[in-house]
Chain length 380, copies 2
C-alpha cells in the first residue's frame, strides 16, 4: 500500500484565495484512503483580484494573459514552499503537486467559431513553469479533456464523493453548499454508473449578495441573522416560482440566474426588514435543496454537508424541517476537514492521474467516455 | 534499439501553415537516428490568419483566446488524421504526438507585473484536448520551463543539431535561413557545453518584405531577381551600419529591427530598380551571416544550410564569396528533408521528453539548468 504525498491547490471562481492541502494517499486495491497533513488558505491581494477581474470581464492584450499565467505560477510556488515550511515538511517528501488553476473561461455549449463548432475551458497557471521552478512533478488542467469529449467539464467532485463517501448500507447524498448548491447522490452499494449529480439551485449566493449589498458583512455568520427574522410569505412564493428548481437533472446553474438583481426585482418597492429578507432567502435556499433531494434523489439518506454554507445553522435547520426523515451530518464529522475538501479533492485528481484512473463520470458530465484527467510535467 | 513513432507539429511565427512530420526514432546508447515517414504542410485559412493576427496585435476577450485554443486543437487533430491516412499509417502505430503550438506571446525579458518581475511565453492548442480526442499521448509546451529558469526559451534547435549534425572530424555550422538567420556552431568533437548558437541578422525577411510590398510575389524564387541586379554600394554601406550584426553572442533579433520600414527609411527618395535593391539586400543578408560565422564561429567549417532561404541560390553564392574556405551543403544532402526539419525537430523534442533527456542547452538559452522540456497528457 504505497503512499503518495500530494499537494493540492484550488483557486475557485470567487477569486478569493489559494486553498492548499497536503495529503498522503494510500491505495488498497482501489479502496483509497487519505490523511490531511496540513491545510491553509492564502488570500489574494486586492491588486491581483482587480487584475484578474479585468482579464475575465474586459478585453486584454495577450501579453497580460501570458504574464498573469507566469505570475500565478510564481504565487503558487511561494504558497507551496510556505506551507511545506509551515508544516515542517521537506519539499523532497512531496511526490506531486496538483493544481486546478484559475478558471478564466468555461463554457461547455458549442458555438460557431470560424468554420467549426467549438466549446472550451481555460485554467491558468503554467504547469511546466511550476514544475521547473520546484523540480517537482506537477499535474493540472483537469477539465479540458472532458469538454473536448462533449462533456460539461463539471462537476468533477462526484468521483471524490464516490471513493470517500460511498456506503454499502446507506443512501448517501453529498451536499455542497457553496455559492450554488449541488449534490452527488450515491444510492447504497451503487456502481459508478448509478451516480447522479447536479446543481439544486442557490447555496449561499442569494443570502451573501443581499448581505454584502446592505451591510458591512460578507455572509450570515452561523445563520444568526436569519434566525432573528420571519419568513415573508409573498416573497417566498415568488422565489418558488423560479422554474430551474423543478427541472429534471442533469442541470447546472450559476450567477447568471441567482444574483442580487433577482432579489431586488422580486422585492420591488416593499420595505422589508433585513432579517426577514434573510430568513426568507434562507428558507428558499433550504427548500430548493430539499425539493431536489426529495424529487430526484432520496430523502431517506445520510446527507453529508460540505462547503461554507454548512456553517449556516439556519439553512441546516430548514433542510431538516423539509426532510424530517434524513440524517444530516457535516463532512467534518466523518473526519474530512470541510474547509479543505476542495483542495483535498484537487490533490485526489492528481493522485488518480498518477494511477491512470479516470476522473470524470460520463453520465454526470455528459462526456463520450471516461478518461484519465489532467496533463503533467516532470521538468526535473 | 526500441523504435518510437512520433508525429511532430510545427506552427511558426509566420502564421502560414501547420507543418507535420511523422518520424521513427531509434536510440542506440543515446546515439539517435530517425526515419522520416511522411511530411506535409497544411496551409491556414485566411480567416484563421486574420483572427490570430488580431489576437496577437489587438485586445481580445478571454473567450476568443479560449475558443481559439480548442479550435486549433481540432485543426491539429484533423491534420494528424489526414496525414496518417495519406501515409497509410494506422493511428495505433503512433506512440506520441508532439506539438510546438502557436506562439501568441514570447518575451524573456523580465518586466514589472503586480508585485513581481515576470517574463513569460505562451503557445496555444490544448495538449489535453488533442490527447482525449485522439486517445494518444500528446507532448508540448517546450519553452515555458526554460523561461521560468531565467532562459530565453530559445533557440531550442541546437539540441537537434548536436544530436544529428555533430562530427568528430569537422567543425560544423548549422545555418538556418528563415525570416531571421541563425547558426548553431558545433566545434569538431565538441561537448554540449561548447555549443554556441545565436541569431546572425536577417534571413529572408528583408528580401521577402520588399518583394511583397512591390510585386505580387512573396519571395525571390531561387534568388533569380537578385541575380539580375547590381549591388547599390551606398545602400549596402548604410545597411552595414546596423550595429546588431557586430554584437557578440548571445544575441537574438526579430521583426522589431529588420523590417520593411528599415529598408524604406534607408532608400528614402532614391529611385532604385527592384532587382538592384534585391541584389543589395541579398548581399547584406549573406554578409551578416558570413561576418558572424567568421568572427564568432569558424569559417573553416562545413556549413549545413536549412530553412526556406537555402533555396535562394543568390544568398548561397554570396556566402561562398565571403567565406571561400567553407564547405557549404544543403541539409537535404545529408538525408534530412530541409522543408520538414522544424517539424522533425518538434517530434524529436517529444522523443527527448519520452526519454527524460533535457532539451535546452543552458549556455545557449541562459537558463539556470538543463531540464526535460514539455508537458504531456495521456488521456486514454
Amino acid at each position: 500500500m504505497e503512499k503518495k504525498r500530494i499537494v493540492g491547490l484550488m483557486t475557485g471562481t470567487s477569486l478569493d484565495a489559494i486553498d492548499i492541502a497536503i495529503c498522503d494517499f494510500y491505495n488498497n486495491n482501489n479502496k483509497f484512503q487519505f490523511n490531511l497533513l496540513n491545510y491553509k488558505e492564502y488570500k489574494f491581494s486586492s491588486d491581483y483580484k482587480t487584475f484578474i477581474n479585468k482579464i475575465i470581464n474586459e478585453k486584454s492584450f495577450i501579453k497580460d494573459i501570458s504574464q498573469l499565467n507566469f505570475y500565478l505560477s510564481e504565487l503558487f510556488c511561494d504558497c507551496i514552499l510556505d506551507l511545506c515550511e509551515n508544516s515542517n515538511l521537506n519539499l523532497n517528501s512531496i511526490d506531486a503537486i496538483s493544481i486546478h488553476g484559475q478558471t478564466i473561461w468555461h463554457n461547455p455549449s458549442k458555438e460557431n467559431f470560424l468554420d467549426k463548432q467549438i466549446s472550451s475551458t481555460l485554467q491558468i497557471a503554467s504547469i511546466s513553469a511550476i514544475s521547473s521552478k520546484l523540480s517537482k512533478k506537477v499535474i493540472g488542467d483537469f477539465r479540458s479533456a472532458d469538454i473536448m469529449l462533449g462533456g460539461e467539464g463539471a462537476p468533477l467532485i462526484p468521483i471524490f464523493d464516490y471513493y470517500f463517501l460511498w456506503s454499502n448500507t446507506e443512501n448517501i447524498i453529498s451536499l455542497n453548499i457553496g455559492g450554488i448548491s449541488n449534490i452527488t447522490y450515491l444510492p447504497k452499494n451503487c456502481n459508478k454508473n448509478e451516480i447522479i449529480a447536479f446543481d439544486c439551485g442557490p447555496g449561499n449566493i442569494l443570502i451573501d449578495s443581499y448581505i454584502q449589498e446592505f451591510t458591512d458583512f460578507s455572509f450570515d455568520k452561523d445563520g444568526s441573522l436569519a434566525i432573528k427574522g420571519k419568513i415573508i410569505d409573498s416573497l417566498l412564493k415568488e422565489l418558488k416560482n423560479i422554474n430551474f428548481i423543478y427541472k429534471s437533472p442533469p442541470k447546472s446553474t450559476g450567477r447568471e440566474l441567482f444574483n442580487l438583481k433577482l432579489i431586488k426585482n422580486l422585492i420591488g418597492n416593499n420595505n422589508y426588514y433585513l432579517e426577514d429578507v434573510i430568513a426568507t432567502l434562507t428558507d428558499f435556499t433550504a427548500f430548493s435543496i430539499s425539493y431536489n433531494i426529495k424529487k430526484f434523489a432520496d430523502e431517506n439518506s445520510n446527507i453529508i454537508v460540505s462547503g461554507g454554507g454548512r456553517k449556516n445553522q439556519s439553512i441546516l435547520k430548514r433542510i431538516k424541517y423539509y426532510l424530517p426523515n434524513s440524517c444530516i451530518l457535516l463532512i467534518d464529522e466523518l473526519g474530512i476537514n470541510g474547509d479543505a475538501k476542495e483542495a483535498i479533492f484537487i490533490a485526489f485528481l492528481g493522485y488518480l492521474n498518477l494511477l491512470k484512473i479516470p476522473g470524470n463520470i460520463s453520465q454526470v458530465t455528459g462526456a463520450l467516455k471516461e478518461i484519465v484527467l489532467g496533463i503533467s510535467a516532470d521538468n526535473l
